[in-house]
């Protein structure tokens, strides 16, 4: 590496890492915030589930006092639900209960209705006081027990009316078995299970890539503006170092710090997702043999890595070019605030939908944005379709060269000192 460039890179990394705004704001804060959020969600959810999974109590106002109500109350007790019988109007009784408590009212004649083959009605009161998750989970559990009891009741009726027939087969005469074809191979897997796992992973890619690009762009754009604001650029432009060394030194310094920030963010984000998903019980374990087939191939990782690198350099070239036009750090931040829009768009589109289903004009617009290709490459990890990703590598290389050419032109002329653009919003401040 030429000595001028090496000096610039070392200075940039040192200067950026010592900047509290970058060190704290971009590395330490996200690295601590996300795990803390994940841990907080984990603890809150775990304690909620633990509380909701504890011994259940159901309050009952029984005006039936017949075989149906007896069978129902016995069923609750058999399922470890404590039954407390109350007297009086059910609505009034329910109002006096605690948050999340459930009261079931069995009306008079319920047993008679069922015996005569008519439908019977019941009332379920749930007292909401805090609207916490616990209150909803408890009522949901009581509801589930009631559903199972109803199913048992139906089966018994079918067995009595249709001797010799299996009640389960009568109720569910059609069995659907799923075969999901993954990369040309069939696996006994329902689309719902596949979707819950793969979608989570294909969404993660664009989110993380977006994060990296935005961080890198902010660092690069402000690094030039900091030189202008601290009045160091004018001096730097008169020392015996090539303008390209200054440009590439800033580029390399921004990449280094952005990568460091990315590692911190990705580790923190991974912990966060792991903590949240772990609590929710979602994982790849349900995929069975398909998990191996879905596992990305090494060439997929290589293409993804190259795509991210290409997009990173493209983003930095854009940020440096725009950063040269800002008068100060706030100006650079304003400009980058607008410039990161094309970073958001592909990530948002590709997280939600499939690019091929979009109208042609949208597709063309997305393909013109270099930041689309890393997101496509992260999806291609699972689909194995690398065609557009490979095209994207070539496109990003051309785009980056173009942007670097513009940045180098600005750097090699006095425009670096004289160029000015401001956003109207700033004038209104």
């Amino acid at each position: 590496m030429p000595s001028g460039l090496r000096l610039m890179v070392v200075k940039e990394v040192k200067d950026l890492l010592r900047d509290p705004k970058i060190l704290v704001g971009m590395i330490i804060f996200p690295a601590l915030l996300l795990p803390l959020m994940g841990a907080a969600i984990n603890v809150a959810t775990s304690s909620t589930i633990e509380k909701a999974s504890g011994n259940l109590t159901v309050y009952v106002v029984d005006d039936d006092k017949g075989p149906f109500s007896e069978a129902l109350l016995s069923y609750f007790i058999a399922n470890n639900v404590e039954v407390k019988t109350l007297l009086g109007p059910p609505q009034e009784s329910a109002k006096g209960l605690g948050g999340g408590d459930v009261l079931i009212y069995i009306p008079q004649g319920a047993s008679g209705n069922l015996t005569s083959g008519s439908r019977t009605g019941m009332l379920m009161f749930v007292n909401f006081k805090s609207f916490s998750l616990v209150e909803f989970i408890v009522s949901g559990r009581i509801d589930s027990i009631l559903s199972v009891f109803e199913g048992e009741l139906v089966k018994r009726t079918i067995s009595e009316g249709m001797p010799g027939r299996d009640a389960g087969e009568v109720l569910d005469p059609i069995t659907v078995e799923y075969e999901s074809i993954v990369k040309g191979e069939a696996f006994p897997l329902s689309p719902a299970v596949l979707q819950s796992t793969v979608k989570m992973q294909t969404m993660m890619g664009p989110i993380v890539i977006m994060l990296v690009l935005i961080l890198a762009m902010q660092i690069a754009a402000t690094s030039i503006a900091i030189e202008k604001e601290a009045k160091t650029l004018e001096t730097l432009l008169t020392v015996p170092v090539s303008r390209l060394s200054i440009l590439f030194g800033k580029l390399a310094g921004s990449v280094s710090v952005a990568l460091l920030a990315t590692v911190a963010n990705v580790l923190a984000f991974t912990y966060y997702i792991g903590a949240v998903l772990g609590t929710a019980g979602i994982g790849a374990g349900d995929l069975g043999e398909a998990a191996a087939k879905l596992a990305p191939a090494p060439e997929g990782y290589l293409i993804l890595g190259l795509s991210i690198f290409g997009a990173l350099i493209s983003a930095l070239a854009i940020a440096l070019t725009l950063g040269t036009l800002a008068q100060d750090v706030r100006g650079a931040q304003s400009i980058i605030g607008v410039a990161i829009l094309p970073v958001f768009l592909p990530a948002v589109f590709l997280m939600i939908g499939d690019i091929s289903t979009l109208p042609s004009a949208f597709q063309a617009a997305l393909y013109l944005i270099p930041f689309t290709y890393p997101a496509l490459a992260s999806q291609a990890l699972f689909t194995g379709d690398y065609g557009m990703s490979l095209f994207g590598l070539a496109y990003m290389a051309l785009f980056t060269l173009g942007m670097l050419y513009i940045a180098a032109r600005i750097f090699s002329t006095e425009r670096i000192m004289t160029a000015r653009i401001t956003l109207k919003a700033r004038r209104m401040e």
Binding site: K11, E234, T238, S242, E414
Partner: protein, 243 residues
């Protein structure tokens, strides 16, 4: 002895405004040369063209026989420029800053280290050089910048308002350093200033600039005698027609 700086019909235009309008002058080796003039006279623009930051619209800038436009890289090895509002990197210490800047001028680490030692001596900041420059006062920052500009012993030191905004003590210290350093090392100094008294005491020759043009040039004593006045300030006012 060939001149260190030659300016020939130097013109700089911004949009429709002519900031520098046909400046021609020569500065000899070892000279301390002052550019004097009001705000907007074209002093800083002239210095920036010599320092290779901006290009002339027309005319010629030659430093030690090198064209400042076509051979800008070669000129940058010969000069050292102190802008009016120069700053240091706030997250680097004063010493780290001197080291960083010296490294561009010397390939051998030993030579750069010698320059840094010289810079430390010129700055007179002592142990404060270990602190980040964000903690420095304006006077300390200016001393650091002057040390940075002189430590590499340039053929030509271009100093834009070197004592601007400084109190009497700091300004006196800086002027003394400039004078001593130029004499001891034979460095040519081109400086601009609003402070006529400073220029009168410091410079061998001065050029009065007004509205982008050099309107008078000569030794301070000679100019005062020519216009029959006691100070350079009065001579300037007579030349530009305000007295």
């Amino acid at each position: 002895m060939p001149p260190v700086v030659v300016l020939k019909d130097l013109v700089k235009e911004y949009s429709k405004r002519r900031a520098v309008d046909g400046v021609s002058l020569e500065i000899g080796e070892g000279e301390i040369f002052g550019l004097i003039g009001p705000n907007g006279a074209g002093k800083t623009t002239t210095l920036r063209m010599i320092a290779t930051i901006i290009k002339p619209t027309s005319g010629e800038v030659v430093v030690c026989g090198r064209d400042a436009v076509r051979e800008a890289s070669a000129v940058r090895k010969l000069i050292s420029y102190l802008p009016e509002e120069a700053g240091a990197y706030p997250n680097l210490s004063g010493k780290e800053y001197l080291k960083f800047m010296a490294s561009f001028y010397y390939e051998r680490e030993e030579d750069a280290a010698t320059a840094v030692e010289e810079g430390e001596r010129i700055s007179g900041l002592g142990d404060r050089l270990k602190e980040r420059s964000s903690a420095y006062s304006k006077g300390m920052k200016r001393r650091l910048q002057l040390a940075r500009a002189l430590m590499v012993k340039p053929k030509l030191a271009i100093l834009d308002e070197p004592t601007s905004g400084l109190d009497v003590t700091h300004a006196f210290h800086l002027r003394r350093i400039i004078k001593e350093y130029a004499e001891r090392h034979g460095i040519t100094v081109l400086l601009s200033s609003h402070n006529m008294l400073e220029v009168q005491n410091l410079c061998d020759r001065v050029a009065f600039m007004n509205e982008g043009r050099v309107v008078e040039i000569g030794p301070p004593g000679g100019l005062m005698a020519k216009y029959g006045v006691a100070t350079l300030e009065e001579a300037f006012m007579k030349v530009v027609g305000f007295a």
